[in-house]
Symmetry: C2
């Protein structure tokens, strides 16, 4: 049986997708350079699934290794997660972002093309909408970048669009994630950021567990219901399910399509803090600080296209998000270490 | 003495710039993968200059070789010409364009950063203005891409902008070429396209010399004086001079600046045909055919910024362009072969 290749399979979304794929009966190969992830995540995935996958240490920029991989294994499709993802770091080290994300994707696609494997699900991001003016955001909204990380995702979308236009045998889904949070119900796998978390939920969790003193809330004077930024948080287990649906879709269609993966519902920072504190019965001290440059007031998806074409929609609730995040954090206060 | 490194130094613009640099007293190293150029061009450059340069067969995607090059030679600045440049081919083989142009530039910049060489003059193109609405075009005009070749140039501009923003030690000039034509007065070096020329002037020359039956003029119903497309043709010797001025500029400034290199004057296709035929006293049979998708009516530069900041402006005339193109074509009917 042919396998699904995950790049960056040991990461936060990769590991949850690996689990969903194993549970759905797929054979899975993961490659990861473990620059920002741990093989422990995939050990736990196998434990949870009761099945094994093949985890190989490999960098997507290593053309020779990739070529050998495609020669030695029958691969039917690729789900491409691998990439750097910290906005702030990207402005300091843009070449690392363009090299890992853009050059890495070019190399991956060249090897896939050579091997005749032309089904691809790509981890894009709602960041490609830049400073979107209209909410909810539909997939046809104008795209722009506000930092090198976002620029790298936008460039990859353009490259994949040109690739699909050049050769109708390609079938590509661009999955534009909104704000993934939560963890598998088991509490065995979850988000394990390096250093100070860039995202809200791991920050809240680390404050709740006592690793950090308080949460900084960046601005409470936005034109939102409570003045704090509103985002479309989506449970990572729902997101993983979206990848399975996208894989089905690329098996049955050709060309390229973008899909928003969000719930369509926006929650404010204070909504998240309160839900986390109330549901988990744990205090989350926070302090309002200045706005962060580049942040927008509100961002949430129109998830209608994914519902219609992929038959997918988010099912898990805000309570699931905060409870599952907390379970993971409590059971793994230092992540996979 | 430290040298100037040219990537793609054996190409059309690279070889003319190599000659100008040698004549101005610079030490020159050229690397080229000769995928679309000939080392014979650089042999002739040395003959014309009466001085030698170092020509090495090397691909900019070869990180190891580049690293060794920077370790073994003292390089003060890089003029980066290397890249694929055929619009039509780029739509058929986008990955080759993104790999050579974008990934190649990322690798080059990573090696430069590592070596502490942070002065760069980059071969961009007026194609980054996409379907510009206002003429003449100023450097602050909106940018967009209409094909993978143009997209690759635009991506590189974005990458270099982010790089300059991340580290003020970088000094980068983006040179946006309009339509380079002509050749060195000697007739020893010139444009040597593979196969059917993509650009007007080599096509005219090949028709005039009898290699092709007639010129196809793509549309005569554009809103221009004679209905044919109007472009800003610039003599390659002027263009080479612009690179010298840009090199001086990046030695004295930091940050990143874009410069149009054009004359500011637009000529129609029929202007060029007539000037070529009249001045060179040779017939250029042509036929009007359908418009080519993606072509715009009119495109010419505002070259004011290059004049003000680089102290550069084009000096050579339309007569020089058509005479020098013809001399090269007559003396080298089969290019460098």
């Amino acid at each position: 049986m042919s396998a699904i290749l995950l790049t960056g399979g040991a990461g936060y979304i990769g590991s949850h997708t690996a689990l969903a794929l194993l549970r759905a009966g797929f054979d899975v190969i993961s490659i990861d350079n473990f620059s920002n992830s741990s093989d422990e995540a995939l050990k736990r995935v196998q434990q949870l699934a009761g099945r094994s996958l093949l985890s190989l240490p490999m960098d997507i920029r290593d053309e020779q290794a990739l070529t050998k991989l495609f020669a030695e294994h029958e691969i039917s499709a690729v789900v491409h997660f691998a990439g750097l993802k910290a906005v702030g770091e990207s402005t300091e080290q843009p070449l690392a972002y363009y090299d890992n994300n853009v050059a890495g994707t070019i190399t991956l696609c060249r090897v896939m093309q050579q091997a005749g494997v032309k089904r691809l699900v790509f981890s894009s991001s709602a960041t490609v909408y830049g400073d979107a003016k209209t909410m909810p955001i539909v997939e046809t909204a104008p795209r722009s970048a506000t930092n090198p990380y976002g620029q790298s995702k936008l460039m990859i979308e353009h490259i994949l669009e040109d690739l699909a236009a050049s050769d109708t045998a390609w079938s590509i889904a661009l999955l534009r994630y909104f704000n993934p949070v939560g963890a598998d119900k088991s509490g065995l796998i979850g988000e394990d950021p390096n250093g100070i978390p860039n995202n809200l939920m791991p920050f809240i969790s680390q404050v709740a567990v006592g690793k950090r003193t308080e949460l900084s809330v960046f601005g409470n004077d936005y034109p939102t219901k409570d003045g704090t930024g509103v985002r479309d948080y989506i449970h990572v287990v729902d997101l993983a399910e979206g990848h399975l649906k996208a894989l089905e879709y690329v098996q049955q269609h050709s060309g390229i399509d973008a899909f928003n993966l969000g719930t369509g519902v926006g929650y404010s920072v204070l909504d998240m803090v309160q839900a986390f504190a109330d549901k988990n019965k744990v205090p989350v001290p926070y302090r309002i600080v200045a706005r962060r440059p580049g942040d927008i007031a509100t961002c949430y998806a129109d998830p209608g296209k994914a519902r219609q074409l992929l038959g997918w929609q988010a099912k898990l609730s805000l309570d699931d998000m905060v409870q599952d995040s907390w379970r993971w954090q409590q059971q793994n206060p230092d992540g996979y270490q």
